[in-house]
């Protein structure tokens, strides 16, 4: 048991548990909090992979920005206590869960049966590519055009969000 293994098991357990809790809680606020926990667990996992920059960004963007948005909306809609949203079991849900589980089994089966040549993580190399510098040079050379296009996407999203959320169009 190396330190890395222990860290991986801890973060994986926290991530899976928080994910399960996220989808099972009735109150969206609670769900949101579990999602934040999940984000932190992921950030930890990124660190075990020596992806420092992504881990930081994960905290900043997801936990910092996106989750604030979620919580803000939940507050705005005042959805804390909604009796009408009673979520009982139904054949549909059982079926959906079964389907999902089937998919999981298939994926795991594929992963287990296919031989993976890369069992060894090379820490030096991994640390090198996880730096801001490495990712930045990638983004601004090979992915320059998609990177610029994301700006358009974001602008469109902003405009769209404002338009949709506005009370009336005139």
């Amino acid at each position: 048991m190396t330190l890395e293994s222990i860290l991986f098991i801890v973060f994986a357990a926290v991530g899976l548990a928080s994910a399960l809790l996220l989808v099972t809680r009735r109150n969206p606020i609670i769900s949101a909090l579990y999602l934040i926990l999940n984000f932190f667990a992921l950030a930890g996992l990124y660190l075990t992979l020596h992806a420092q920059f992504i881990a930081v960004i994960q905290i900043l963007v997801y936990a910092g920005a996106i989750m604030v948005l979620f919580v803000f909306v939940i507050m705005l809609l005042n959805l804390r206590d909604e009796r009408s949203l009673r979520e009982g079991l139904s054949w549909k849900k059982v079926f959906a869960a079964g389907v999902s589980f089937g998919l999981l089994m298939e994926v795991i089966y594929i992963l287990m049966t296919s031989a993976s040549g890369m069992t060894e993580l090379l820490p030096a190399k991994a640390t090198e590519i996880g730096t801001v510098e490495a990712i930045g040079s990638r983004l601004f050379t090979r992915f320059l055009f998609p990177f610029e296009v994301t700006s358009v996407l974001l602008t469109a999203a902003i405009v769209g969000a404002i338009l949709l959320a506005k009370k009336k169009l005139d």
């Binding site: 899976l16 992806a51 809609l77 949203l85 979520e87 983004l139 994301t150 959320a165």
Partner: protein
């Protein structure tokens, strides 16, 4: 020894949990959060591959996924607000105008 496969299985499990959430929950906001969960599990895959292959492309792609996730969250939540304004609910079962 933590192998690539263990990261991938973890990520698959989280993805399926998210997908199940999308499929079974009626609360639109929780569905959205489940979608975020799915996106994150994909990010984990990308980062894992990137690290094990020694190629920063995967991490660059995570960047784009995050951008898309942010945009999706903004627009999606705006839609939820608009729907709520019309229907006074975020219950997806009641939003069934997609037929005909």
């Amino acid at each position: 020894m933590v192998t690539l496969t263990s990261y991938l299985i973890l990520s698959a499990a989280m993805f399926i949990i998210g997908a199940t959430g999308v499929l079974v929950r009626r609360n639109a906001i929780i569905v959205f959060m489940s979608i975020e969960l799915m996106l994150n599990s994909v990010n984990l895959t990308l980062v894992a591959f990137s690290a094990f292959l020694g190629d920063s492309t995967g991490q660059a792609l995570v960047f784009f996924v995050m951008t898309v996730a942010a945009a999706e969250a903004a627009v999606g939540l705006a839609i939820v607000i608009a729907l709520f304004r019309r229907k006074q609910t975020v219950n997806l079962d009641e939003i069934n105008i997609l037929k005909w």
